[in-house]
């Protein structure tokens, strides 16, 4: 048992030095599981699950997310339980890119505790930081509403999906999309093309189900092609160290990524 735990404990000790990660998993009591799940949590909030549980969770969360669209936690769970292979691909892509590798190394987190809101406020208009803050204010969202990862059985992949979630608001800012249902669908299409996560693909395909005919028409004819085009053109958005780019002008960043202006102003729709 000890030999099994050694590599886990070694990595956990390594985690202690990294400022990004929350409460240390090594303090968690390890318990043996007889149902085929990983023995012991690998990071805080980790809940080891057997393959059967993952399958049930994936099915249940998909059904619940469709039934009650306000259950954002179900979308998160769906992403965690279905994304293992895709997360590996994403992680490898991050490793190959210098900026992405740095992110993996340092593991920055985006939350009210890690963001210096005063500093962001003081940045010039048009900069990424200032626009991000404006996006949060206008849409009345907070970076704290992202659920911590629980069902991914690898702590590096758990970070990757956590990063993906926290970067979601950045994507809204980059694409200029509001947080209404139409804006969310457009961002989901962009993310689906960019990351290939099954949850994004499912969300992109099933999200429009509850839209009105007019919105659907605008979506299909203009917004989706635009989102897909930009998604394919832009490099992997997870490779951007946003925390170092607050002062960068949003327009310059958009040019760098090849993101064009949205074709339709969708604030009034949906």
């Amino acid at each position: 048992m000890a030999t099994l735990l050694n590599p886990v404990l070694r990595r956990l000790r390594g985690l202690r030095r990294l400022p990004g990660l929350p409460r240390l998993a090594a303090e968690m009591p390890l318990r043996a599981r007889s149902d085929g799940a990983v023995a012991g949590p690998l990071y805080s909030h980790h809940i080891p699950t057997s393959p059967l549980q993952k399958a049930l969770l994936a099915a249940g969360s998909a059904a619940m997310a469709l039934y009650d669209p306000y259950r954002h936690d179900m979308v998160a769970v769906l992403g965690e339980t279905t994304g293992h292979r895709t997360l590996k691909v994403l992680r490898d892509r991050m490793r190959r890119d210098p900026e992405g590798a740095q992110i993996l190394q340092e593991r920055p987190r985006i939350s009210t505790s890690t963001l210096d809101l005063g500093k962001l406020q003081s940045l010039p208009e048009g900069s990424l930081g200032r626009e991000y803050l404006r996006f949060l204010d206008v849409n009345r969202v907070s970076p704290d509403t992202r659920a911590p990862t629980r069902f991914v059985d690898d702590e590096e992949l758990a970070y990757v999906i956590q990063r993906y979630r926290e970067v979601h608001d950045m994507l809204h800012t980059l694409l200029g999309m509001p947080t209404n249902i139409l804006g969310e669908i457009v961002v989901k299409w962009f993310e689906a093309v960019q990351t290939g996560l099954p949850m994004c693909i499912l969300g992109a395909l099933f999200g429009p189900i509850q839209l009105s005919a007019q919105s659907l028409q605008v979506l299909v004819s203009e917004l989706i092609p635009w989102a897909v085009q930009n998604g394919r053109r832009a490099p992997c958005v997870l490779n951007l160290y946003y925390e170092r780019r607050w002062e960068q002008s949003l327009r310059a960043l958009r040019e760098e990524l090849g993101i064009t202006a949205p074709p339709v102003h969708i604030q009034g729709l949906a």
């Binding site: 303090e27 809940i47 049930l56």
Partner: protein
């Protein structure tokens, strides 16, 4: 408001945990899971409490209390749904069997402890009412030669439709009581019902008050969860469970009239090895998933199924009841021992 995240409290362990628990107790959120069998309210309440750190909003204290309260309310509402999903509706049969075993006579004073959402109380009222109605019918049939005045008087009498029976629902949790009251209103139960906030280990009633005391899926939870939640060795847990259980049993003995009956419906040990394997598989694989999908709370239901395994067996619990001073203690296992009804008399 964003949907619940996973329990931030699980990042506390050991000492930190009990610190967090004490904080929770100040809010009056102690353990005890009344009525709804498969629910871990304290954990889910605490989870909600820490989640309601409303991001950018600076929420004044009073308003925050209100928001937290609203969150708890939604959790309490999910219990009945969770019970149905987890037991596949069989919990209704179990509760019906408990009433069957009880066979209350007219004029019974029932105390239903940990009966928050009112399942047992409503069944009791139905039973008593139908008994009273059939008694009245028999009386009418026997008195065939009544004059019209006498018959009119009988109908105008507006006598008690329950025949003097009363039920008091006692629960430690306000939200569960609230849900219970709403259900009572919705289903039309008005007379003969009282709702009391109280702790099973320290009941707010005088001695020798009730004819029947029931506790359905509640006695297992009359422990301080903070003592049993951390992975302390099994012995410590068991003794903690027994200590609080005994306290509750002694209170039950105290408030019952001489000749009164104690009835307990609780999860117990399965006696059939094949069914035990299937039951374990279902409990550990499916129930936490259901908890996550329906109530957004994996950890509480994980804890729930583990705590069921730790509760004493039918025989051991029988001995505990005898130790509390009850006589003629018997038990009946239902569904191969998944649940058991224990019965004892105060003589």
């Amino acid at each position: 408001m964003a949907a619940p995240k996973s329990c931030a409290l699980w990042s506390y362990c050991g000492r930190g945990w009990s610190r967090a628990m004490r904080g929770c107790q100040l809010l009056g959120l102690r353990s005890s899971w009344p009525g709804a069998p498969l629910s871990a309210r304290l954990l889910s309440q605490e989870k909600r409490a820490t989640e309601t750190h409303f991001g950018f909003e600076t929420v004044p204290e009073e308003e925050k209390g209100g928001k937290v309260y609203q969150v708890f309310e939604s959790v309490a509402k999910k219990y009945d749904v969770m019970n149905d999903m987890m037991s596949l509706g069989i919990h209704r049969v179990w509760k019906d069997l408990l009433l069957w075993k009880m066979r209350p006579l007219p004029g019974t004073q029932l105390l239903d402890v940990a009966g928050g959402t009112g399942d047992i109380a409503f069944r009791f009222l139905n039973y008593v009412r139908s008994q009273h109605q059939s008694k009245q019918k028999r009386q009418l049939r026997a008195q065939q030669n009544l004059s019209w005045e006498e018959i009119a008087k009988k109908y105008q009498n507006e006598e008690d439709s329950l025949g003097g029976s009363r039920v008091v629902v006692c629960d430690i949790n306000k939200e569960m009581l609230k849900v219970g009251k709403q259900k009572a209103l919705a289903q039309g139960y008005r007379a003969g019902l009282a709702w009391v906030l109280g702790d099973a280990e320290e009941l707010p009633f005088d001695d020798d008050k009730f004819d029947i005391y029931t506790i359905a899926f509640g006695i297992r939870n009359v422990t301080h969860i903070d003592q049993t939640l951390t992975l302390s060795p099994r012995l410590e847990c068991d003794s903690a469970i027994s200590a609080h259980c005994s306290q509750a049993l002694q209170e039950a003995h105290r408030v019952l009239k001489p000749g009164g009956r104690f009835l307990c419906l609780e999860f117990s040990q399965v006696n059939n090895p094949l069914i035990s394997r299937l039951y374990d598989l279902y409990s550990f694989q499916v129930i936490p998933v259901l908890g996550e999908v329906i109530a957004g709370d994996w950890k509480s239901y994980q804890y729930l199924v583990e705590s069921i395994r730790r509760f004493p067996s039918q025989e051991e619990f029988k001995e505990m009841i005898e130790d509390a001073g009850f006589h003629k203690v018997t038990y009946e296992s239902l569904t191969s021992g998944i649940v058991a009804i224990h019965s004892g008399f105060k003589l």
